[in-house]
Amino acid sequence: MTDLNTFRRETQAWLESNCPSAMCQPLRDEDDSVWGGRQPTFKNDEQIVWLERMVEKRWTAPEWPVEYGGGGLSKAQGKILREEMKAISARPPLMSFGIWMLGPALLKYGTAAQKKTHLPPITRGEIRWAQGYSEPNSGSDLASLSTRCEHNGDHYLINGQKIWTSFGHKGDWIFVLVRTDVEAAKHDGISLVLVDMAQPGVTTRPIKLLSGASHFCETFFDDARCELDNVVGELNQGWTVAKYLLTHEREMIGGSAIGRAAMRPLSEFVAQQVGLNEFGVLLDSVLRTDVARTEIDALAFLWTTERIADEAKAGQGIGAMSAMLKYYGTELNKRRYELMMYSAGHDALALDREDHLVRDWLRTKGNSIEGGTSEVQLNIVAKRILGLPSV
């Protein structure tokens, strides 16, 4: 305990003297986030300084082993670091699918050489990773995927199409689910491979969404080359790795909802839009009920994420609980934005509103689709937790 208290004090002091004040502000615009990569973009010098200092401190991936560029912190220390960063509203120095999704899978299933090659550049923000999972005909039924990966001398050749590749047009490398055995049952012929996107066989095309933004891409593979040692886990056993990675994706998406729940209370926003009467009660009584119920649910959800993390730490966890959190967290976030839209009235509909509320609201409709739909999460809960039978 004393050690942790010492760690907390040291962390506070380090953050105090190293986190630029401009980096202790809530993320407002997209370019407030730093994603790194071969062609990184920075909005200002503070972003560069903050990233460099955190990379040097090895706290971009604080709980990864030191030998792979991580900070080697224990779970308890990692929690303290997150708490202390939250306490001063420190921005994450680096957003990264490499840190959130691929890294954990490589740490569990990767070879020593793969970890040595791929993890340190992730922690330094040098390589930006994209995720190649869904296909036009394989959405919720992901295991039906048909992108082919065939042996061709000293390498593999990949042919097919992926869709919903987040920031695919800005990715340097991509982790791709491919079919390596067309004869096997659908879950048994899949592998997870790592592919350098800087080659003529890989092209991307952004997809314009309802919100007008284009963060998602179609990604095409035409005789794209993949080295033989870039298969993660055993050949044809990729579904196991893919599922493990998906639990991290669910946590990430659920986690962004958690971030919002912990952020500014919904009622503050609503009160600002709608106003209070002389007794300090929200002027719209119907909206007030909805807001109160949503805030109550948001708090109880936040505590649930804490409880499940505590249970996991104590070895009492159930893996499928991430499905439950993903389901509830994303549905809650949609409710939150619906109420924000109601509260802002006509003004909410304006495309040039400074807080781009209407675009954010549109974007939330994807929360309960991406990373496994709400219905898929409910299937997982029904089968894996409640033990209800398949057809």
């Binding site: 009660v281 929200l282 109880a300």
Partner: protein, 379 residues
């Protein structure tokens, strides 16, 4: 604080579950109802609970209690929610104990705590006068008299009122009917002249009463805390009760889901187990999720009470509001997924619908606590 039960609390849960399922299952409640029991609970069962220390769960050891705290009290209440065990636990061992141990005078503590702890004195909290919970609305009056105070007025929906040996009552010693200031609390023995207690038969077959005070004379030392400053005390007592009611409803909701899953896994229609239908799987999975969210609120509320957290009231209102709604959902979904058999009296699932409806109304329903929550959050 980690949101986990300690080893001691886990052992208590296992012991409580074992005892209640063996000695006080739902069939006991059915028997009490069918026999029109005048007590409304089984005195031998309560005696056994007292011997296990449950009635003293919140009472200091030097007064014969085991002082295990609110989380432990919630663990017991949750298990009672699974079996729908009728007992004076909530009104006596939780609310009565908090009132006397936390705010009673030395002589009140001396007189009552050991008797609460050994299960020989039942306490009931008489607070409500209106059509729904409203602890700040007090028309019952406490006028100064030669002996101390003269109490006049009526209270309704008093849980365990007709089996109480001691009534904790809120009465107004000054101020207007809705003023928080001016409310005083008294401990009134049931044999006082002018006190009339009448049992009300409620849908849950548990104990509820109306209590009438017709110029009941009490001594100065019947006062709990300071005259006129009883509202804060009452709120603390109620919050302990609300958190444990939420725990009880959480137990009932879990049992509704468990029995529903069993039924879905055995009942066959269209040549298949109905639990294989996605329409039912999704209802069950959604209910499971809601229960897990509610569980966190209950644990947080009980921990906040143990830690005397400054956010205690807010957290308790989150728990009572959230779990109230979850429990109503659980009971209704259980009946829907059981189909026709769920509507029969012969089948036990309906007892849950009845009890969680009463527990929802007791000490503030989901709407009361959502409104209170919003006020505490300044909107």
């Amino acid at each position: 604080m980690a949101m986990l039960l300690t080893d001691e609390q886990n052992m208590l849960r296992d012991a409580a579950r074992g005892f209640l399922q063996a000695s006080a299952p739902i069939d006991q409640l059915r028997r009490l109802r069918d026999e029109a029991s005048s007590d409304g609970y089984d005195r031998d069962t309560w005696k056994s609970m007292a011997e296990m220390g449950w009635s003293g769960v919140l009472i200091p050891e030097d007064h014969g209690g085991v002082a295990m705290g609110h989380v432990a009290a919630g663990v017991i209440a949750e298990e009672m929610g699974r079996t729908l065990t009728a007992s004076p636990f909530l009104s006596t061992a939780v609310m009565g104990a908090i009132a006397v141990a936390g705010y009673g005078s030395a002589s009140q503590r001396e007189q009552w705590l050991s008797k609460i702890a050994d299960g020989t004195t039942n306490v009931a909290v008489a607070v409500d006068e209106d059509r729904s919970h409203s602890p700040g609305l007090v028309t019952t009056s406490a006028q100064a008299s030669d002996r101390g105070f003269r109490i006049s007025g009526g209270k309704s929906f008093v849980a365990d009122g007709h089996v109480a040996d001691l009534i904790l009552v809120s009465a107004r010693s000054s101020g207007g009917v809705r003023d928080e200031n001016g409310i005083s609390l008294f401990l009134v023995p049931r044999d006082c002249a002018g006190l009339t207690i009448e049992r009300q038969m409620m849908v849950d077959s548990r104990n509820s009463a109306t209590v009438q005070f017709d110029g009941v004379e009490v001594d100065f030392d019947a006062l709990v805390g300071e005259a006129g400053a009883g509202y804060a005390v009452l709120e603390h007592v109620l919050d302990a009760g609300r958190a444990c009611l939420a725990a009880e409803m959480l137990g009932s909701a879990q049992e509704c889901l468990a029995q529903t899953i069993d039924y879905l896994s055995t009942r066959r229609q269209f040549d298949r187990t109905i639990g294989s239908f996605q329409a039912l799987q999704h209802r069950a999975a959604h209910l499971f999720t809601e229960i897990e969210i509610g569980r966190s609120a209950v644990m947080r509320a009980l921990q906040a009470l143990d830690a005397a957290s400054k956010d205690r009231q807010l957290i308790v209102s989150v728990a009572k509001s959230k779990v109230g709604r979850v429990a109503q959902l659980a009971a209704q979904e259980a009946i829907q997924m059981h189909g026709g058999i769920g509507m029969t009296d012969e089948f036990n699932i309906g007892f849950f619908l009845k009890r969680v409806r009463v527990a929802e109304a007791l000490y503030g329903d989901a709407n009361f606590h959502a409104d209170k929550f919003a006020r505490m959050r300044n909107y």
